[in-house]
Symmetry: C2
Subunit: 406 residues, 2 copies
Amino acid sequence: AIDGDRLNEDIALTSRFGATAGGGIRRLALSAEDQAVRDWLAAQGDALGCRYTIDTMGSQFLRLEGRDPKLPPLMMGSHLDTQPTGGRYDGIYGVLAGLAVLRAFWASGYVPRHSIELVNWTNEEGARFAPAMTASGVFSRVFTLEQAYSLVDRDGVRLGDALQAIGYKGEEPCGAYPLAAYFELHIEQGPVLENEGKTIGVVTGVQGMRWFDVTLTGQEAHAGTTPMELRHDALLAAARLMVLAADVAAAHGPDAKTTIGIIEASPGSRNVVPGKVCMTLDLRHPDDAVIDRMEADFRIQAAEIAARAGIELSVKESWSSPSVPFDPACIAMVRDAAAKLRLGYGDIISGAGHDAAYMARICPTTMIFIPCRDGLSHNEAEYATPDDIVAGANVLMRALMTADEH
Amino acid sequence: AIDGDRLNEDIALTSRFGATAGGGIRRLALSAEDQAVRDWLAAQGDALGCRYTIDTMGSQFLRLEGRDPKLPPLMMGSHLDTQPTGGRYDGIYGVLAGLAVLRAFWASGYVPRHSIELVNWTNEEGARFAPAMTASGVFSRVFTLEQAYSLVDRDGVRLGDALQAIGYKGEEPCGAYPLAAYFELHIEQGPVLENEGKTIGVVTGVQGMRWFDVTLTGQEAHAGTTPMELRHDALLAAARLMVLAADVAAAHGPDAKTTIGIIEASPGSRNVVPGKVCMTLDLRHPDDAVIDRMEADFRIQAAEIAARAGIELSVKESWSSPSVPFDPACIAMVRDAAAKLRLGYGDIISGAGHDAAYMARICPTTMIFIPCRDGLSHNEAEYATPDDIVAGANVLMRALMTADEH
Ligand SMILES: NC(=O)NCCC(=O)O
Ligand SMILES: NC(=O)NCCC(=O)O
């Protein structure tokens, strides 16, 4: 079994890398804080005699050799990067629980048939560089290495240069080998398990998500002299589009979600009618056909709003990740593990994107969720109980051992 | 008469200090560009043998001594700072036309009874440091010097330190002496004169204006997992307040104006429901009682919107400038000057705030407007014709000469 105390200690320990005053973590991908936590992880692998590699996307791999060198490895992991004001569990839990599994194997002397790899994926959050799940996207051939390297953050820094700057542009080719399966353990990040009183979410898939860059161009004008009806106020039109986005979600049922997370209005002066607004739009639904309809509804009505205000509108898709069904055999292994451990469990679809969504394209994949308090995530107050933390890690280890026998 | 060609050349010349690619000017108060144009203005005064002083607020004064040293000076002027993407005329025209008047007196050997002072006021726009009209506000005892020095820009730089940094913290006490009258020449910055086909606006006053800092505090949450009805989305609530502000303007007739010029949403990540928004609000109307009602309407409905969304709302007044009636005698001098020069003219109320609004508190004051193309201002495309430029300057000179005889 897992050393639960050490796992919970590791969560407290890693929360110091980028700790915020609000009790959360600010550890944007490839920042100095990210570099520090990566160095820490590498040192843990050394102690277990793991083979340690860094690939060209900067992802870290800790490998415990298996009995049968002809078998493809089993992989588990998640990510150590966070949102600007993120919590202590999102991604981190999956990496540290994987480390706990490696330690449990090592301590017991148990050598599995397959080699077991723990991965820390680069830039999962999509907060510093969009899109999200970048390294697993390259690993699974969704993006090319060149596409990923040329992503820029809001200061214009290229991802490739940021990798170099913290010394994490590795030599290992990204994604060149087959895998037996991929398991990712994560907090749910939503309210379902908590509401249903369950400890384990058996994740059957990931909903579809689509990102857009929305640009509105009007005309800068004087706030004191320009009559309301002569204005082409890019920010007022953007406000109407934000309300529209919420209405579009409401029109497509309780599973539809729309979010504007970033907005920038220029020139940014109190007494100037804004001439230009750039904002993001995130559309989600478990059913890709519904996302298509949400997008169409938004586009049609947004165009009408913009035309009425004399505003030039551009709505550009910047990323799309269709809904993903996970592997039935892997799902069954998780369900069995939860049942054998006598934990309350239930099926769930992930509302968040995860590296597992991309890994599912190249190997049998699934995820394991545990509840988080008030369904809160992407928030400094993110919290999961120590007991659930341990329970999830034990399900991960047991599912992996089952997979090892196949 | 004014040397019209030289005046129009000066407008072209000064537009180089902070010229933007879009044909406008970015010359924020107390920036390096502001320093450069100030140095240029000081050198012009030298050539005319003017007494040159800088006061403790950094305003520049060029003084031509009059015949009768016992009479208080007559003052004219405006400002050389601009919006982030401002035009070539707003404020600048009033300063350069004043310089043309000084040159005309000098060239003709005419010595007026009163000393004539030209002023370039510090931080009129309110773009870098809010509120606007800061130096004339201190001059006229609306603000204390300490209040003005401790204003901070968005990078946290204090106005007092910014003055020091460009070498424009002068020795002269700010506003310690009486004035016979103050005349300010400006582009209208709105569409009225152009629509009415008039060359000169006889400005009878300035409308009321009130600035607010609006803060909305909700809860950061995950964009993919948080059901819409569980969100406390500070940006969506802000969007509803922006639409409300436009509705409030519409409900109070064609003279009512509401503007949100600055918005900042945090944490600023595509897949995080924004937990906090700060934005500005600018309310204007010629009748202060209507502004009171606009504010009350906004506050009541905004509180309802925020409460429904579970958002904490704060609406703080940061500045208020009540409507200002100008001096009837000065107004008459402008009207007579326009008539004598056979220019089309009409009465107008200023929609923009001006240093004259504060000067009216301490001496007989009025303004002169000329049309600007499409009523556009606070825009790089701001434009006034060379003929109107010259016409306005001649009205300024003639009104000043009339005032000198009283
Ligand atoms: N797990 C997680 O929060 N990933 C970020 C990608 C997204 O769902 O927006
Ligand atoms: N003249 C001018 O644009 N002043 C700025 C103050 C304001 O009206 O907002």
